[in-house]
């Protein structure tokens, strides 16, 4: 106990991130890049540098994430400040209408990623404007729009049943979850992320408008994390429980790691998914009020990390290795075996790429408590070899379960990227 406090106090006195942390990051491949979105230079947290950062308006190319490419943007793209996630159900019948929808969506998404308006603007005063207009004059804000197909898209409606990847289906039920239908599933999932909420919302709104008569919104969840303005150093973001979340994530700059962890291959079971990735989305409500009444010791033992520094219990710094065998002077493990970090890490053989955001949804009308938590998103090559075993373990014994509740769930097979002239989903049809 005293040792824990000692450690926390030490790290409070320290700057959020030391030069050594940064160098280690650079060595292990820029986790800060994944989560913070600022350049490595920006991570040397000098006050003077902070000022120049703030004054600098990003150039169009820095502010723009290319839409077309081998992979869809928004997966290994460094996480933007905001998310607006939309799940759709297709109402049109027939594969033709579905194809047309993806073609229209692709054209609109590509334009919006460049900061352009949707469609050809006409000056006809007798017609409603083609684009809804709220992003006029705004920068692209690193907008990414990532499309995926839900398992239900492979039923008998569109003749796609034979195309369903064998290992792609709805998740099994996990211990303790209380899924609410209004936060589950969807024929199509669209992850929209941007450094500006209005830009992200604009994209979802216009995609929904384009889809009218072909697809309807099933659920929408907005989310946020600390912005790059609030943390120019790009340190690991904290979740709403106050702890750093996402310290351990594979290196998005390593093609080898991404091929191993994230990108599906043609011979994984579905040729059309080659270069795509499988997404798990969970809306995880946090029992904030209960958490806030827990002692610091309980909180830290729940995560297995120090709240202030993010370091594994018994270690000094955030990126110190998680040593599950390390023991205190009494011979007890520093990191409880049922802590979140111990279970999520396991033997380290299973990895996923996490890309989560916090959400706040007003208040729970029944209890008057805040409806807030985590919009967990992860990308992996195989849901049932990566996400499912990890989540089964967590659902069974994670100490954190006392403070969280999984209320929403969906999985989507995110298509490979499209090249100019093609469209998202063209490998499927």
């Amino acid at each position: 106990m005293s040792e824990h406090n000692q450690n926390s106090n030490d790290s409070i006195l320290k700057k959020p991130m030391t030069r050594r942390d940064v160098l280690r990051l650079a060595g292990t491949g820029g986790l800060g890049l994944l989560l913070g979105g600022s350049a490595v230079g920006g991570m040397f947290a000098a006050e003077s540098h902070r000022k120049t950062e703030a004054a600098k308006v990003p150039s169009a190319s820095e502010d723009q994430v290319p839409f077309y490419g081998q992979h869809q943007a928004g997966i290994i793209t460094p996480a933007q400040n905001f998310i607006c996630f939309a799940a759709f159900d297709v109402t049109a019948s027939g594969s033709n209408s579905l194809q047309k929808l993806f073609q229209s969506w692709t054209a609109a998404a590509a334009a919006m990623a460049e900061g352009k308006q949707v469609g050809e603007e006409s000056s006809n005063h007798n017609l409603p404007p083609v684009d809804t207009g709220e992003s006029v004059g705004l920068t692209p804000s690193r907008l990414t729009i990532t499309f995926g197909a839900g398992p239900s898209l492979f039923d008998d409606r569109f003749g796609l049943a034979s195309k369903r990847p064998p290992a792609f289906k709805d998740l099994p039920s996990f211990n303790g979850e209380q899924l609410e239908p209004q936060w589950c599933g969807g024929d199509i999932g669209v992850q929209v992320c941007a450094d500006d909420m209005q830009v992200a919302f604009h994209a979802v709104r216009n995609l929904a408008r384009i889809a009218r008569g072909k697809a309807v919104l099933r659920w929408v969840q907005e989310g946020f994390q600390r912005s790059t303005q609030a943390d120019p150093t790009g340190s690991t973001p904290r979740n709403l429980l106050g702890f750093k979340d996402g310290t351990v994530n594979p290196d998005v700059n390593s093609a080898q790691d991404m091929n191993k962890v994230v990108w599906a291959r043609g011979n994984d079971g579905a040729a059309w998914m080659s270069g795509g990735s499988y997404m798990a989305v969970r809306r995880i409500r946090m029992r904030i009020e209960v958490w806030d009444r827990s002692s610091l010791k309980d909180q830290e033992n729940t995560f297995g990390r120090y709240r202030a520094s993010g370091a594994p219990l018994g270690a000094k710094n955030e990126f110190d290795p998680v040593d599950l065998s390390a023991k205190d002077e009494k011979g007890n493990p520093h990191i409880p075996a049922d802590s979140h970090v111990a279970l999520a890490r396991g033997d380290g053989s299973i990895q996923i790429l996490r890309r989560s955001y916090s959400y706040s949804g007003g208040i729970d009308l029944k209890t008057g408590q805040l409806d807030a938590g985590l919009l967990f998103i992860s990308y992996q090559r195989d849901l049932f070899k990566q996400f499912v075993p990890m989540q089964q373990k967590l659902a069974k014994s994670d100490r954190l379960n006392e403070y969280i509740l999984h209320v929403g769930s969906a999985v989507f097979a995110c298509f490979p990227g499209a090249s100019k002239g093609g469209y998202i989903g063209d490998t499927l049809f």
């Binding site: 109402t91 006409s122 000056s123 006809n124 005063h125 007798n126 017609l127 409603p128 408008r209 009218r212 008569g213 309807v216």
Partner: protein
């Protein structure tokens, strides 16, 4: 609330209607960026809508005649204390009004006088159908409604007299069709229009029928300009009508409270799916 929201539209429609009245008004309409104006910005000679406009005027007058006739039956029932008969006549009489609502809305105070809901206007000014609706369903009586009944019939007759004077043009028809569906979107599909009688689906169906009539009249011209759009709108009218048909009961529709949440949502989504392409019908007006 309703009137606060629709006021700009009414003003807009009115300015269109009377745009022929003087140079000054014309210029004002042209300065408003959002105003669908058929004058000044035209580069190609606009299509001739004389026949279409006459067809619509005939329809509007027909509906208005029936509206007065059916309203009189309703107000007579109210005045003679026939509660059940009045309840039965209420929604069908309103349907004639709902089909041509945008036209009525262009006529100043007539719409609030006939169709204001509670809280739409100051309590002292509240009259018309919904005032009587409250008495019939909530208080379960016709007592004290005689004055409102007389006023309502007078307002209906005034509408009939004034409708002859409205300068209907193609632009009013196009915006009117969308306006009818917007009416459904904002109050009928939510069950807010008929707070006491829950006869919202009668209004819903009538608004859609009114929009369909306009589409039907303008269809040949639209097919010339954009055949795909004409086909799409037609298909979506069919889909919505088929869905509405499943809620038919006798000569009318089921009580709004019988709808389940997901049924309301589906109706609303199908309405949005129709209103989106319908809002592009303005193509026929030229630029």
């Amino acid at each position: 609330m309703k009137y606060k929201v629709i006021l700009p539209t009414s003003v807009l429609v009115a300015s269109l209607l009377f745009s022929g009245c003087g140079q000054k008004e014309n210029a004002e309409a042209g300065q408003t960026p959002a105003a669908p104006t058929t004058t000044e910005t035209s580069t190609t000679p606009p299509a001739d809508f004389t026949v279409a406009v006459e067809q619509y005027r005939t329809f509007a007058v027909e509906q208005c005649d029936l509206f007065v006739k059916e309203t009189e039956k309703f107000t007579n029932a109210v005045k003679s204390g026939k509660l059940e008969e009045a309840k039965k006549l209420y929604a069908p009489a309103r349907s004639y009004y709902e089909r041509i609502e945008p036209v009525a809305e262009a006529l100043g105070d007539l719409d609030p006088n006939i169709d204001a809901r509670v809280n739409d206007v100051d309590a002292a000014d509240w009259r018309g159908f919904h005032r009587i609706e409250k008495a019939l369903w909530e208080d379960n009586t016709t007592a004290g409604q005689e004055g409102y009944a007389d006023q309502l019939l007078k307002d209906a007759q005034l509408l009939r007299a004034k409708i002859e004077t409205i300068d209907i043009d193609a632009s009013l028809m196009v915006t009117g069709a969308v306006e009818l569906l917007n009416e459904v979107s904002s109050s009928k599909v939510t069950g807010e229009e008929e707070l006491y009688s829950h006869t919202d689906l009668y209004d819903f169906a009538a608004n859609v029928e009114g929009a369909y009539k306009i589409f039907e009249i303008l269809k040949p011209e639209l097919a010339k300009k954009d055949a795909d759009l004409e086909k799409e709108i037609g298909e979506r009218f069919d889909i919505l009508q088929k869905e509405l048909d499943t809620y038919k009961k006798g000569d009318g529709y089921v009580d709004y409270t019988e709808l389940k949440d997901d049924e309301v949502r589906k109706l609303s989504q199908n309405l949005d799916a129709l209103a989106e392409p319908l809002s592009n019908m303005g193509k026929i007006l030229g630029v």
